[in-house]
Every structure is written in C-alpha cells, then in structure tokens.
C-alpha cells in the first residue's frame, strides 16, 4: 500500500537519484521557457487532497499535544521556581536536534509512521510554547499581583483570573510560531512514511518543480490561515489591548 510504495520509492530515489533526473522522461520538464506547468497542475490538483489532510492532521495533533505538555510544564515551573532553568534547558535541547536526526533516532523505539512523527513534532513545539508562556507570566506587572493578593485572591485565583488572562498574548504568540514551524517540519515526515505534503516533494515527483511549488503554495496558505486564526483568537480573548491609552 501507500507506505510500502513510499518505502520503496525512498530506497530507490536515494540510490538512483541522479540517474532518473537525466533520463528526461518526466511529465513536465522544467526549463528556461516554463517553470510552472499549469496544465499538469489543473489536471492533478486532486492528488494533493490526501497529503494535505494528513499534513493538517499531524500538525493539529502535534501542536495540541505540545501545547498541553508545555503549558503544564510552565504551570509547574511557575509554582516551583527551581524547575525553571532545567526545564528551559531540556526543552531547548530537544529543539536543537535537527528534526531528521530526531525522527530517525526514534526508529528503534517507535519505528516508522505517524507515532514517531507526532512525538518528534510535539517535542519541537515544547521549547517555544514553554518559553513564551513563562515570558507571558513575567510580563504581568508586579503591582497587579500585589494588589490582587492584598485584595484577598488566593494563589490559584490569581493564576487563573489575573496571570493567565494577562499572559494570553504571549502564549498565543508562541502558538503561532510553533504552528508555523510545525507545518514546515511536517514536510519531512515523508522520510519516515508518515505522509504529508512532503510526499509531493520527495519520491518519484522529486524532480518536478511544479509539483513542489504547488506543495509549497499549500503550505504557505496553511501557515497564513493558522496565523490569522490564532491572531483573531487572541484579539477576541484580549479586548482590553485594543484601547488606546488616554
């Protein structure tokens, strides 16, 4: 089925990459006269459906999981300050490892497929969401916390009614960055047979600029759409930010 074919393709392309390119037997050859084959695009646009859905699915799941974990960690670190440096370092280390390496390092443990993809993709979102959440907390003015405490709010009430609402802009900023980079990295999961839009850039279509460009365009649209969505959500959640100071 699809994954087996992809595996085979992966094996093939790796070794015979140069051979295929020079064969000239491609659906639409890119040269100086035309970069983009509109006809081919029109005819074959449906093949992008499944990869796009796979891509979306992976992104949504990974960002959701990453957010839940990073947010929980941030809440923990907020209460126990001594956790902050180690957590920051830990999430940072995960981010440093190039995604490809990460994917393949996990192979012995989780093998090919979606699970590995989700684990790695979630791990990458941890650092930025964690850092931004902590930054959001830092930006809450001390005087507001002092007043809240002095008025008789319990620590938990201060967290949920004061600190989190005021930290929302930073948190969502982190989500935006995390989502954008996850959408980008997800193109690589084709290498571990997890589908996604990377399939249109790798495999037998690899030599095909038009296919690649369409995939890139879809990705760009996805990034913009999510960014806009998150930005709008932020605006809705923080009505007090729009007002101009007197």
């Amino acid at each position: 089925m699809a994954s087996v074919a992809l595996l085979a393709a992966a094996g093939e392309v790796g070794g015979d990459f140069f051979k295929e390119r020079s064969s000239g037997s491609l659906p639409c050859q890119a040269d100086e006269s035309h970069l983009f084959c509109f006809d081919w695009a029109k005819e074959n646009i449906d093949r992008y459906g499944t990869p796009t859905l796979q891509h979306l699915e992976l992104v949504l799941i990974s960002v959701a999981i990453g957010f839940v974990i990073a947010f929980a960690l941030a809440l923990l670190a907020h209460r126990s300050r001594w956790l902050q440096p180690p957590l920051l370092a830990a999430t940072g280390v995960l981010y440093t490892i190039p995604s490809i390496a990460f994917f393949f390092l996990l192979l012995p443990v989780t093998g090919f497929g979606r699970d590995t993809a989700i684990i790695v993709l979630s791990a990458y979102t941890l650092q930025i969401i964690y850092r931004n959440t902590m930054l959001g907390f830092e930006n809450v003015p001390d005087s507001v916390k002092d007043a809240a405490r002095g008025m008789g709010l319990t620590n938990r009430q201060i967290l949920w009614k004061v600190e989190l609402p005021l930290a929302t802009p930073e948190i969502i900023a982190g989500l935006r960055v995390a989502t954008a980079s996850t959408i980008a990295i997800t193109t690589l999961v084709v290498l571990i047979s997890a589908g996604g839009l990377g399939t249109e850039m790798y495999g037998s279509n690899f030599n095909f600029p038009t296919a690649i460009l369409i995939a890139v365009a879809i990705i760009a649209l996805m990034v913009l759409a999510f960014d806009l969505l998150l930005l709008t959500t932020q605006r809705l959640l923080t009505p007090w930010r729009k007002v101009r100071p007197r």
């Binding site: 490892i97 490809i100 390496a101 390092l105 980008a184 890139v216």
Partner: protein, 236 residues
C-alpha cells in the same frame, strides 16, 4: 520495543561509525567505517560553515543597519515569520530541480534559510538598546559606524547570538538532506538506507544530533564569552 533491542541497535550504530562493515543490502560490499564517517562529517561541516558565513555576511550588517536606523520593521518581522515557515525539504528540492546540484548551488540556498533568523534578531537586538545610551554616544561625538559597532552591537549580543544560533540549527538541519541535491553530508547515511543499512541509518541520525548539539553548545559558550560582564550582572 524492548530496551535491550534498542540498546543493541545503538551499539550497532556506534560500531558502524568506527569500523567498516558488511552490509547485506549491497551484497557484501563493505560500507561505513571511520574514513567514510569523517568524509561525510567534514562535508556536513563544510557546507554548514559556508552557508553560515554567507548568511552572516549578508544578514548581520543588514539587520544591524536597519535596526540602527529603525526602518523596515515590517520587512524584518515579515522575513522572520516567513523564515520559520519555510519547509527545508522544499528548498533542497527546488534547488536541486531548478538551479542545480552541488555545493555551489546548495550552500547559497542554505544561507538563505539562515539569513532570516540572523537578520530579524540583529534588527530586534539593536532596536532594544536603550535609546538614551545611543543618544549619549551620539552626543559624545561618536560616528554612526562607531555607535553600531561599539555601543549597539555589544549591547545586543545576547539577542544577536540567539539569531546566529537559530540560523546554525536550521542550516545544520537542512544540510542533513543536502545529499538529495548532491552534497555529501551525514544525511547520506540516513537517506540511503539501502546502501548503508539499519546501522548506518542510526549512525547518521546519532552523528547529526551530536554535531548539532556541539555546534549549539560552542555558540552558546561563544555567546557567554562575548557578552560583556555588565550585561550579565543581575540588577539588585
């Protein structure tokens, strides 16, 4: 997967790095080993350093200048945001199919990926320098160039280095799939499984991870060295 198996796989990988092995995929030919590993490692480092150098050459002065002038905020932020969302695979693929293969074509493409974080962070870093400090420097008679190099840059080091580190990460990561465009890097082990086998695969992943962490660690140390003590002191 059980622990012993996992460990077993990794030990196989480590062996692969150091000694040539028989690979059952290519029918008995010996693959891997220290020499090959070194060759690919050096290739990886070479393209990374080259790309980073180009990115620095272009991104750093531009970012510092724009930040100093205070112009082009929209552009800088836009580039930064866009840069994060660029799929590395697409870049390599497009380079390979449209422009050509080989170091000459790949290095600039990687550099392009690295310019975004360097430029954005240089811009933001300079913008965040206290305007009063710059004002004082100007009032003392420092030339604009001096201000940038002696005042703004040192004060912006943490942010700027953050950008450089980000660029390094992206470039090292993308260099891993550079073999698809004809540049021999450690990614070769990963992408050509049929040649190098399971051990090769893991070895490649391991090496890339280690390389990335080493580079990141060195840059972090460099950052600490470059950050003036005055900035490191915590305010009372």
């Amino acid at each position: 997967m059980s622990a012993p198996l996992v460990l077993g796989s990794f030990s196989g990988a480590v062996e692969f790095i150091f000694a040539p092995q028989e690979s059952n995929v290519t029918g008995g030919k010996e693959v891997g080993g220290f020499d090959k590993t070194m060759e690919l490692l050096l290739g990886h480092i070479e393209v990374t350093v080259l790309a980073l150098a180009i990115a620095l050459l272009i991104g750093l002065p531009l970012g510092l200048y724009l930040g100093h002038k205070g112009k082009g905020e929209l552009l800088a932020v836009g580039i930064g945001n866009a840069g994060r969302a660029v799929p590395e695979l697409a870049v390599i693929a497009l380079v390979a199919t449209l422009i050509g293969i080989g170091m000459r074509n790949v290095a600039p493409a990687l550099a392009l990926l690295g310019i975004a974080p360097i430029l954005v962070n240089a811009y933001v870093g300079v913008r965040q320098v206290d305007p009063a400090t710059v004002d004082a420097a100007r009032g003392m008679g420092m030339s604009e160039l001096r201000i940038i190099s002696r005042v703004e840059l040192p004060l912006a080091i943490p942010t700027v280095m953050g950008g450089i580190r980000g660029a390094a990460i992206v470039i090292v990561a993308t260099a891993t799939i550079a073999p698809l465009a004809g540049v021999e890097t450690l990614g070769d082990f990963i992408l050509n499984r049929n040649v190098y086998g399971e051990n090769g695969l893991l070895a490649g992943a391991l090496l890339v991870a280690l390389l990335a962490m080493t580079i990141e660690g060195s840059l972090a140390l460099l950052q600490r060295r470059l950050t003036s003590d005055g900035l490191k002191v915590k305010t009372a």
